[in-house]
Subunit: 512 residues, 2 copies
């Protein structure tokens, strides 16, 4: 039989573990049994990291998917913890599946550290499946972070950094990064700017706080509470609830603009002086803002002294057409472009940027404070090197190919298994929208949960003040699973979709 | 004559530069002349980094100070840019010193990138000297950042990180870091806590905003503007103006507590429910809070349902006595300890921590947001590794020795050159206070400027509502200069101090 040694030295002091695949059933069943026995007997200690699929598969002479499936099975049973990709570990608290588990309250205990590990999942009955397929939008494939390239850039940056780097930082951000971004954004996104108009921040949320937060930034010598921009802020009727809540916490009222096939109805702007848009790829419904509307919203800003906030959250990832350039290029004095590496690299690297009209630069810097108090200066230098060295472009290209292939597989799977479901928003980005018959969204999400699929419905993103109609649909984040997990996730998704003759739970009138 | 090759490959495509020390005068003058010629002729291109003193000194067979002095001279003349330590570079815009220089406005130009480099300093006349000695408090020796150890920890952390690290982060911070901090703070600072009570943040300013900022953090489902703590906040009569301004911008009124020889007069607390203290080393006056007052302020918090914010900004650096443990250990349910790596490592690493009473954990996490939107997750893992591997302790020990030696040299220099000046606050930290006769502070700062020394007076740190008397003094940040620059900085400082028979500009009554 196939055999392998699991090197669990990291947590168990260098001991090795012998795995032997024997007994009845498939290789996958035999591997799952061997791993289960090893955990139960304590040979694989809690916290031990298991080898990557690829290496264990090679050692055992089995297919990589066999290992992936066996791991997934043990995760669902609570023996292992669900780390995407190679970092699967033995759960901290493993109990035989038949043992009753009493969930702990997170902050229940004051005298000693409660164990933060979640309790192991009980052994699943036939259904619902443990939630193992993560198709929620918002996260790139975490297994694809370019560790080697990032480390190489980080090393070069650290070794070449002048000593002053380790002193108080310029709140605008490191000049190396602002120069690299100015060049990159001009080339890749058509942005017209210069390094002095760029302010580095920790991400999109930080940018919104710097713009609207009376207290989010320090404004020396200005008294308290002065904001760079003031509400109300027009937003798209569908968008991230996180952003709306953040703005509400800053006391900024948001006013929804309807969305149609050409994107946000910017002709509906009334008294607002600022509008937040996702012009390249409306989030989450997926279309680009029509060229006429791009021009119209800039005209509006010029005529009314307004400003457009351009959330360029996934502008790098466009598959079918020519890239949709940044709206900012139409009028750099009327558009604030905000971007980050959260989709292109990882949300773990807390770096974003604002490309500002000249008149806002001083106020944003004042809001940020006298010194850099937010964005890691070493990460800034590493990102500058990653861009200048070409590694960033290479990574984006690689991911674009990977995500395009996933998108194609999603579209193909739906065409075969659920041809009655319309897919939209697939020309770009890391997610698609599956349009559903009116009134079926909630039951579709329930069915997905039943199949172990985590995803959101369109209702999650709808502005509470948005008018009718509400659209039913599922937002599928196809970048989220790691490569090996994608096939199974697609399968589970297709099983969850309503059949062609599904009856709506609540019938709504579509008047659009 | 001594010769050397300056390898300027970094910016000039690998070309080498031949330096020959010839002509009249000292070796220092000859080296300065050779460097000046090389810059003027373009052989040393703008931006080229010069070799470290040590290597150039070895190559030329001259003393290290000779090189340091020659560099300093060219920095003062505007040929080189003032990078502390080895990173000295050729200024981006070098003009012959006699050329008139028109300063640029930072955001003057809209069509092309203005060069952000400062204009070169004009050649100094006999006096005042160009400001080359930085004795401002607040920054550790930037030349001492443990690059190799940090990089080793970063590499290990990146290589060992499970994939989930690259997805959305826990707003509490990485468990690896919180565990390492709980252990370290217990051992080094006597803190009583557990990882679940620690919330990672970007530094002290971020912590203040999370605690007092209605809008600085997102509080999902709570409506807008709910704060974890409310003002007014009692503060020490002397402290960082940055903190007071930040609080004012959040709408928090600060009420000063007088300071005497035993530290803050916590018996003067009245209606406030929160007090911000620097118990280990009052900032900037320098004494520890008297044990009776430590007990008294905790009693006050218990009796009044109040909370003490402990700013543990330099608790690691104590030289003469046993470490003063954290006040937090007296009552972990009544004290919020806030620390960061800004003094121990560098403000370029944007990491801090809050050690919280249980009742605040949920609110602070809600204020921080659903996901980690601030602190670099990779830096968090690197810091965890740095601590667990022992490198952090080694670095702190090394820096403690270095700073103690500097403090000793400062005290010795003053004893010899200005024995009438009383030095205080030298048992700990990275700065000392030189007490001055009443009314002489402003003229002493002017004299320091005249000598090329940058430092602050006590008045800079005084709360605007603080009662009389105001104390005159200079706050000397002796950690700021790099090793080679310290001797010259001390010399210049001593030259700037008022003589024993100095007449005060304004005589004030000392009734303390």
């Amino acid at each position: 039989m196939a055999e392998s040694w699991v090197n669990s030295g990291e947590r168990t002091g260098g001991s090795d573990l012998h795995l032997e695949l024997s007994g009845p059933g498939s290789k996958r069943a035999a591997l799952a049994r061997a791993l289960r026995d090893a955990v139960r007997s304590g040979r694989l200690a809690p916290g031990t990291r298991l080898p990557p699929y690829r290496s264990l598969a090679a050692d055992l002479g089995v297919a990589r998917n066999t290992v992936a499936d066996a791991y997934a099975e043990l995760v669902a049973e609570g023996w292992l913890t669900a780390r995407q990709g190679s970092g699967t570990r033995v759960a901290e608290q493993t109990r035989p599946p038949h043992t009753a588990v009493r969930p702990k309250r997170p902050t229940a205990n004051t005298t000693r550290a409660p164990d933060r590990q979640p309790p192991p999942r009980p052994h699943p009955g036939p259904r619902p499946a443990a939630r193992v397929h993560d198709l929620r939008q918002g996260t790139p494939d975490v297994s694809a972070f370019p560790r080697a390239a990032w480390l190489a850039s980080y090393r070069r940056a650290l070794q070449q950094a002048p000593n002053e780097v380790f002193g108080p930082g310029d709140p605008a951000g490191r000049p190396e990064l602002r120069e690299a971004l100015a060049e990159y954004l001009a080339r890749a996104r058509g942005v017209r700017t210069e390094p002095d108009r760029i302010v580095v921040c920790s991400g999109f949320a930080h940018a919104l706080r710097l713009l609207f937060g009376g207290g989010a930034g320090l404004e020396k010598g200005r008294g308290s509470g002065r904001q760079v921009l003031r509400g109300p802020l027009a937003v798209e009727a569908y968008g991230l609830p996180f952003h709306r809540e953040l703005l509400a916490a800053e006391g900024v009222r948001t006013v929804p603009l309807p969305i149609d096939a050409h994107g946000a109805r910017v002709d509906r702007l009334t008294c607002e002086r600022a509008v937040l848009l996702t012009p390249a790829h409306q989030f989450p419904t997926g279309g680009p803002l029509h060229p006429e509307r791009r021009a119209a919203v800039v005209d509006w800003a010029r005529a009314r002294g307004g400003v457009v906030l351009e959330d360029d959250y996934d502008g790098e990832f466009r598959y079918d057409r020519k890239p949709v350039g940044a709206l900012q290029s139409l009028d750099p004095e009327r558009v604030i472009l905000i971007g980050s590496v959260s989709k292109s690299l990882s949300p773990a690297v807390r770096l974003g940027w604002m490309v500002l009209p000249e008149r806002y630069v001083g106020d944003v810097l004042a809001a940020k404070g006298e010194r850099e108090a937010w964005a890691s200066v070493l990460d800034q230098l590493a990102l500058a090197d990653l861009i200048v060295s070409g590694s960033y472009d290479r990574h984006v290209r690689r991911m674009r190919q990977r995500y395009r292939a996933r998108r194609d597989r999603l579209v193909a799977a739906l065409a075969e298994r659920a041809p009655h479901i319309e897919v939209s928003g697939v020309a770009a980005g890391l997610h698609a929208v599956l349009r559903l018959p009116p009134g079926t969204e909630r039951s579709a999400i329930k069915a997905a949960t039943w199949q172990g699929v985590a995803l959101d419905g369109l209702a999650e993103f709808r502005h509470p003040d948005a008018g009718r109609p509400a659209h039913d649909g599922l937002v599928v984040g196809y970048a989220t699973p790691s490569e090996h997990a994608y096939t199974a996730a697609l399968e589970a998704l297709c099983r969850a979709l309503p059949p062609a003759d599904a009856q709506p739970v609540i019938t709504e009138q579509l008047n659009n």
